[in-house]
Amino acid sequence: MVAHVLRLRLALLVGALNARPLVLLRRLAGFAVLALAVAAVCVALIRLDRVPDGEAATLTVVGSSLLVAGFFLIPLFSGVEDPLDPRRFVVTGEEPGRVAWSVALASPLGIPGLVVVAVAAAMIAAWTGHGSPAGLAVLAALLLVGTSVLAARCAMAVSAVALRDRRSPQLTGLMVTAAGVVAIPVAAFAFSLEWSGGLPSQLTEAAQVLAVTPFGAASAIAVRSGGELVASMLVAVGTLLALAALWQLLVRTLMTSTERVVPVGERRGLGWFAVMPGTPGGAIAARSIVYWFSDPRYLANVIVVPVASVLIVTPLLVVGVPLQTVALIPPPILALFLGWLVHNDLAYDSTGVWLHISAGVRGVADRLGRLVPIVLVGVPLLALAITASIWIHGRWAVLPALVGVCVSLFATGLGLSSISSVAAPYAVSRPGEGPFEQPQRTGGSMVQALVLLGAILLSAPALWWGWLSLTGDEDEAWTSFWSGVGVGAAVLVVGVAVGGALFERRTSRTMEFAETL
């Protein structure tokens, strides 16, 4: 079986060359670029013998962590077809267990597999050049290869099981946004490090942490000793075993469950509705997203708030407050207004809300669904704003405080808004009208002020500790972070629960209000 699968895999590789000239040219070009890159990495690794031992260790651990993470995340996000998809072996009548082993053993044979093999070989050279025992170096390399290819297999299987029929431009957009939310701050952090004169100490610390995580443990075996070595060894072997078990399980699932026959067109033309879960809450979320991204009334809000939060600080700059201080002000303001934006969300539906009422939608589902778009918009915006502002400010130590303050303001705002939009909706411009055509106000300013002030008051702890961390005591940054996250989460949960209960109790009032719009 193994030999057979290996032959198949080889045949697939050769078969890739059997294509139309244009396609073949493209493939060969891509392969050449990849080969060059791998060669460059290998050469760089082999020449690591010139740098001190410690720095070489840090670099290999961080580098191989990135490698493993890439092998896991890229197949998950890109949704590539697995050429050795276990389901293709169903017709052979083989046991799932044997298929799992065969495919796993054959998987280093393939472009990504060969890349990781080459890199691992170069790492062996680098490690032995720095005096690691040859045995440990080889073991580390083997574990690295095994972890990478298994991670990729598992990722492809998970993507096949869970995500296949949800693939759509919207989902890709979501994933890219999510990746950006993580990657951009990390990149900003990396750029802001002090690179001249050896490796920055933060990177060394990061490597120490990575050495005991599944990502970096394998390569850390070669560069550590004593108790640290044992810890890394345990994590690395445990990771490999866990991945192998997961792979077995996934193969079994894939081979024994029938693939759901998705009737052609079932998900076609549903847009966001196909991405969100098929529950009332998910549907409401999808509908809200459609409105947020197409209705000028919402778009105006989304555009005005970030611009305003930046513009609001310009007077401070004019009067001579230093830029480092001013830079910290926009993110909290942005967070505050983003949370406050939805305080009258229900009114934007106008009489359309009858649909939720007549369907007997649970209040909590309604509330949560409506919060999804603002979270989708708010989190990336805040991540960017916080990163930018800390970068300008220059001290990464206050990052936790700033995150805590922003989370607190945003989440308490959302929680209070969830209540206020049911309890005290007020008239807004109707669907289809321009965003700046305001109806004659019948109240509303009271609610606006209450939500805004409430969010600020509830965020007082985070703000206070954040201020302390800014004025000297950097340890308070984490206190601010935890208090902000704690208060924010609590208020959000309570707000959604109370708002949901109110929604179910006040259906008649809500309808009567809606009909006055």
Partner: protein
């Protein structure tokens, strides 16, 4: 006085007549063909259902008993009415009042029959909730009524396929085109077909409203069964005021299950308010509303689950495409995505909206918007449809199609409550009618009871105050130019 009509022919004669007179005929084969189509995707879907393959056998047994028992009986009836369809004589004019009475009684009759054998419905096979009697009940009502309504169901091809085929097969009515898949199959496949159909075809299986509350309802129903069936809707002393205007004043209504009920009244009489209260959108100031035996105030979610609602002059989410909107309707009602997708296609075909499903609803005409909202109201196969002005702005062809669908729905035990300005329409399709003026019910009963010796329009004029006060517009006739 009135042309000789019995109730059944009255109902179907115009419908089928319309079917032959107006364009719909092409629609019949189309719809029938369509009715077959669902079979195919559904069959492809069948692997989803199989987890419970053992049951179908017993279901098959049960199923084959069931139809047979009522079959014999209504078959004659069928023959009878069939003739009646041709020439309106046989059972005819017992005078209107008497005619009115039998209606609920006849419905009460078949109901008890299924109750003793709670095992034989496919429903639980599909939907995880193990509520059995819920289904047997409408299923059986359905059988006798259906036989008498073969024409109707034919025209409204959407809803019919297998059941009609099943009944027709023995009775040898030649309606073959649609029988294609169903009867030729062996026993087991037939059952499978029925199983899906129960799930997939909205008007056909009123009881498939996927809500757990059904249980409660069934129980109350069962206990009251001995006395009389639970009405689809009962309003007792319902009032509603807006500020100092009394929009609805002590309204009492009782609408039996399986009837087509019209609420008529002049502008501003409180029809919309009444229907909004029934739909659970507005809360009455006083009085109780029971939907299928469930108190709307005590268990709003349970009662709402039994209803499909089409409001008048309320917005819908117009930025969604038609398909998205129907998906939204269905998922909010707790249906699974696959079910919604299939029903969306069926409804799109039935309402002639297929080509428009991909466009945003904001681009629809008023009539199309009405139709898509009506489709949405039906997507979860409710027991009671509450429709406010369903025919306003709808073109005549579509009106007939909608009427056909609704008639088939009512024939299978569904209940329709609608408000309308069109007296002729109400006179033609409704079993019962209530005239509301200034928030009060001035007359109610069967159409014949209410109209007495006049047409409904005349009677309505009398009740609503008539034409007497058209005075004081003399200046209008002086022509200022």
């Amino acid at each position: 006085m009135t042309p000789p009509k019995t109730r059944p022919p009255r109902k179907k004669a115009p419908v089928s007549g319309a079917g032959t007179a107006v364009p719909p005929p092409p629609e019949v084969p189309a719809a029938v063909a369509a009715a077959e189509l669902p079979g195919t995707p559904v069959d492809a879907d069948a692997p989803e259902v199989p987890p419970k393959p053992e049951i179908p056998a017993s279901v098959a047994a049960a199923r084959f008993e069931e139809p047979i028992v009522p079959d014999e009986e209504p078959q004659d009836l069928d023959e009878g009415t069939d003739v009646a369809a041709g020439d309106p004589d046989p059972i005819p004019e017992t005078e209107p009042v008497a005619e009115a009475e039998p209606e609920p009684v006849r419905e009460a009759e078949p109901e008890p029959m299924p109750e003793p054998e709670p095992e034989g419905e496919p429903e639980p096979v599909i939907e995880p909730e193990p509520e059995s009697p819920a289904d047997t009940h409408p299923e059986v009502i359905e059988v006798p009524q259906e036989t008498e309504d073969i024409e109707v169901s034919n025209v409204a091809g959407v809803s019919v396929p297998a059941d009609a085929a099943e009944v027709e097969e023995p009775s040898d009515v030649t309606v073959d085109p649609q029988e294609g898949p169903g009867p030729t199959d062996a026993d087991a496949p037939t059952v499978a077909f029925e199983v899906e159909e129960a799930e997939e075809l909205a008007p056909e299986a009123p009881a498939t409203a996927v809500m757990p509350q059904m249980n409660a309802e069934v129980e109350t129903e069962a206990s009251e069964e001995t006395t009389r069936p639970t009405p689809a809707l009962r309003m007792t002393d319902v009032s509603k005021s807006f500020g100092r205007t009394r929009a609805v004043d002590a309204v009492d209504l009782e609408i039996p299950a399986g009837s087509f009920y019209g609420i008529v009244g002049p502008n501003g009489a409180g029809k919309t308010t009444t229907l909004s209260m029934i739909a659970g959108l507005l809360r009455p100031d006083g009085g109780t509303i029971e939907v299928g035996g469930i108190d709307l105030r005590r268990d709003p979610r349970g009662a709402k689950a039994l209803m499909g609602v089409l409001p008048d002059r309320l917005r819908t989410f117009e930025r969604l495409t038609g398909r998205q909107l129907l998906h939204y309707y269905g998922v909010l009602r707790g249906l699974r995505g696959a079910v919604v997708a299939e029903r969306t296609e069926d409804l799109g075909r039935a309402f002639d909206l297929t080509a428009a499903l991909a466009r945003p609803v904001s681009d629809y005409s008023a009539g199309m918007t009405k139709k898509i909202m009506l489709a949405g109201a039906m997507i979860h196969a409710p027991r009671l449809l509450v429709l406010d002005e369903p025919f306003e702005a709808v073109d005549p062809v579509s009106s007939e199609v909608i009427l056909d669908i609704l008639s088939a729905y009512v024939a299978r035990g569904g209940t329709v409550v609608l408000s309308s300005h069109g007296m002729e329409l109400v006179e033609r399709v409704c079993d019962g009618v209530a005239v509301i003026v200034s928030g009060q019910v001035l007359a109610k009963g069967t159409v014949d009871e209410v109209r007495g010796d006049h047409t409904l329009a005349e009677r309505f004029m009398q009740l609503s105050g008539g034409l007497s006060d058209v005075e004081g517009l003399e200046w209008l006739h002086t022509y200022s130019d």
